[in-house]
Symmetry: C2
Subunit: 494 residues, 2 copies
């Protein structure tokens, strides 16, 4: 033992040494990109599926056995909106970063061929803690900035994707983080390969995709997921050495495109008869899972296991390039469950019951008040009144429900891949409002998780009630509404 | 999905399909080479140790949570004796393959510089099912040959090490196996690297170390442990396709020398500050653990999880090149717990309680009658009267003890690294008899698992009683006894 002799010495033999840190728990938020609800060997559906048996994520299975599995966890249908919700606790309809961000003042809607829809103004430049940035959500505090006030060391590792290039929000250090490893404006990496310098140059991609700040791995045979894990581990060690509680936002670029096989894991999947693409994808999932396992190992090794919260989540469903398998319909960006339902596992030592399951719906903006609550940091927040998320600690404590009348909302007024929509879910009912053709879809998820049977005509009262509640919510937060090109009039609300 | 469409189709959605095979359970015996009791992140001691926190074996942890953990499982102090016990159910003192085998009629004792001890005749050529092989244990049946009679497909993958070069026992196909992948006389691989053709040529080693039969991986960037796993998976699939219950003897060469890093896993350990050797070793352990996880994945994928037994074990303690850490004393070949106590995990679906622990001592020859019992195959065995092992099914069913008066024996009449010894353990007491200096060591393992306090003088009655029982056992099985060179007389028994 060369480097970590002191720490190792402390933890020798004795099973769990309570950290010398304060009693504030360390928090690891482990966020995967573009990982669908079924793309894991953890069964989030009521039965194991074909995908559960073909993908292999053993460390997620370990976390499942150590904590609580949320079977109805939701995110936004794509990356930037989900990530802004994480930072602010706000619903996308309120924060208005409703599509993905990258270039200043350039909306990805421009790629769409749709000729009927005018996309409304939205926060195309993402978020900012500096005032005066046009087309950006201004906030005076973020989840990490509040945690920092509460004494936390706030560590960002991986994908940021909060602000457009050339705006302050592109740099996590401007959003409340003490440390930034590899985060910038882009929502995907140039390459997962150190040999490619994590740059898109090899595929003639622009420099905006080049992962920043990992120069020491350039030219080496190392996967980005591994490099980020090594860096995150190092930062955890430093925080423990400094006797500071830490918030590690471990935000993997994986398994976002470009899909590049991780050769440490791919052979098995090839032999299984998966298609080449599926095998590559599976290898990236297992690579991500190794990262989770490595962090879990280090948490134990550092003697902080009993004082460290781990929250696992994805930012949206699987991309459309991945074939959809039962039971869910749809993929990333669509309003169906395949686009918004995500894997979620939470371990809060001393609170969550090992191996338990929670079937109550929760949504990504809930993470903000929940982490503040778990960190005893809510008192440092100044604007809780504009937070849509709810503290789900009661669910973590094993309560079977929180508020049965709670409604969940999604808002996507864009034409990228789909036409604009808003969604409300309440109880088992889910209503999707399609602006372009002024059409509602109504599903009962309890009996129809695959969203095959539109009950809008059969249950008009239910549909009307949900439309009303959705409409009123959108109005209450002043949600941006798409317009019809021919008339320049806003489309009718739900 | 190209190849396994039919199987995948069957298992789609439905969580566990009972196999179309007969009700005989499939059995995977997962044997690791030279893996010590503490060389895993599973805590086999009453508390987590430094090694538990530095090594990472997440799939062993999953198996621990799914089955029963044996905290006092024993093997012989080295490879060939353990493996012959597995095949015959006999104690080493009875089967007399008491040292490691390789070249015909050549005992490794010849490497010793000891000038006082004459090693007795032993079965230097290993075992044989063909009669008439000199200096070999003749048996008319083996564990796999009996299982084959009972309808099993018997699959050997990995290290065999049962018979000397040029004798029938060098080939697993002559010992009851239907299939042999990569098994032959040698107890270690030439190299773990496909790029080295798994041959020792690169290090000027002899051809006896070249792993046979994996030509399709030669020249490729693949680790031997991975190649064996892919082959084992393929054989499991074939057996399921043939609707035959299988006995998979998954016998890894890992983590036996040569110690060659698995670059899929080594970086983390280097960063942790482990010595170069420890990091290499740790990477080989995690590589082995990935194999376990891959087999577990395939068992599930093939729809046979509820009908497949998994037994995990090592064949002896860690080699002397690996630094010894608390709590155990000694290493491979020595009589101390570090040489003979091994990790053991057992999952028998419907029998073992998930996450349970068994503190009753068991020993490697118990595997033979236990597997026969679990497979309902005992009736096909013809010579159970010469079996020393006991069916430990009651322990698997959760019973707290079997026979409190049971004594355990070890016998090593050799001068390779150590001087000759025999051991008896009964209850918490362990007596080691050293032939060369006619000395007894007596330890109470309950209070002194590190074997630091020799109580032979303080507890003369206990020592005498154990010496007598050990002596009588050795006489009863006609154990080979070393002699003194100067007089050519046998050393006195315990």
């Amino acid at each position: 033992m060369k480097k970590k002799l002191i720490i190792s010495g402390v933890s020798a033999i004795t099973p769990f040494i309570l950290s010398a840190q304060s009693e504030q728990p360390n928090i690891i938020f482990f966020l995967v990109d573009d990982m669908g609800w079924q793309e894991t060997s953890v069964a989030f559906y009521k039965e194991r599926t074909w995908l559960n048996n073909n993908y292999n994520t053993p460390n997620m299975e370990r976390l499942e056995l150590q904590g609580v599995k949320f079977t109805q966890a939701y995110a936004c249908p794509l990356s930037s909106p989900s990530r802004i919700s994480l930072m602010t606790g706000q619903n996308a309809a309120r924060h208005k970063v409703t599509n993905w961000t990258l270039f200043k003042d350039q909306s990805p809607d421009r790629y769409s061929k749709n000729k009927e829809v005018l996309v409304p103004e939205w926060n195309v430049n993402g978020m900012s803690m500096a005032p005066g940035v046009e087309h950006a959500l201004y906030v005076s505090e973020t989840l990490p900035s509040i945690l920092r006030k509460a004494g936390y060391k706030t560590i960002h590792v991986g994908k940021a994707h909060w602000g457009a290039i050339g705006t302050p929000g592109e740099d996590p250090l401007n959003l409340g983080f003490d440390v930034n490893i590899a985060g910038h404006a882009a929502g995907g990496p140039g390459s997962y390969y150190g040999k490619n310098n994590f740059s898109a140059a090899f595929r003639n991609g622009g420099p905006e995709w080049d992962v920043p700040g990992l120069e020491k791995y350039h030219g080496k045979d190392i996967n980005l997921t591994e490099a980020l894990t090594l860096e995150a581990t190092h930062e955890m060690e430093k925080a423990v050495d400094e006797k500071r509680p830490f918030y590690l936002y471990m935000s993997h670029y994986a398994i976002h495109a470009p899909w590049e096989e991780d050769n440490r894991f791919v052979e098995k999947y090839k032999q299984m008869g998966l298609t080449d693409f599926e095998a590559v994808y599976a290898s990236m999932l297992e690579s991500m899972d190794k990262s989770l396992g490595d962090l879990m190992q280090h948490v134990r090794r550092l003697g902080i296991e009993k004082n460290t919260i781990i929250i696992f989540m994805s930012d949206n469903g699987q991309p459309h390039q991945v074939k959809t398998y039962p039971p869910l319909r749809g993929h990333k960006i669509t309003p169906y469950e395949g686009g918004i339902r995500v894997p979620m596992l939470v371990k809060v030592p001393g609170m969550t019951k090992p191996g338990s399951e929670c079937n109550v719906p929760v949504i990504i903006e809930d993470i903000y008040p929940t982490i503040l609550s778990l960190a005893s940091a809510t008192k440092f927040a100044e604007n809780m009144e504009i937070v849509d998320g709810r503290d789900i600690s009661p669910l973590l404590q094993g309560k079977k429900s929180m508020d049965k009348n709670r409604a969940f909302f999604w808002h996507y007024p864009h034409i990228y891949d789909v036409t604009p929509y808003s969604i409300i879910r309440k109880g088992d009912w889910k209503l999707i409002w399609h602006y372009a053709d002024q059409r509602a879809e109504l599903f009962n998820l309890k009996y129809d998780i695959g969203e095959k049977n539109n009950l809008a005509d059969k249950e008009p009262d239910k549909a009307q009630a949900l439309r009303k509640e959705l409409r009123e919510y959108l109005e209450s937060v002043n949600a941006p509404i798409p317009r019809k090109k021919s008339t320049n009039e806003p489309f009718r609300l739900p």
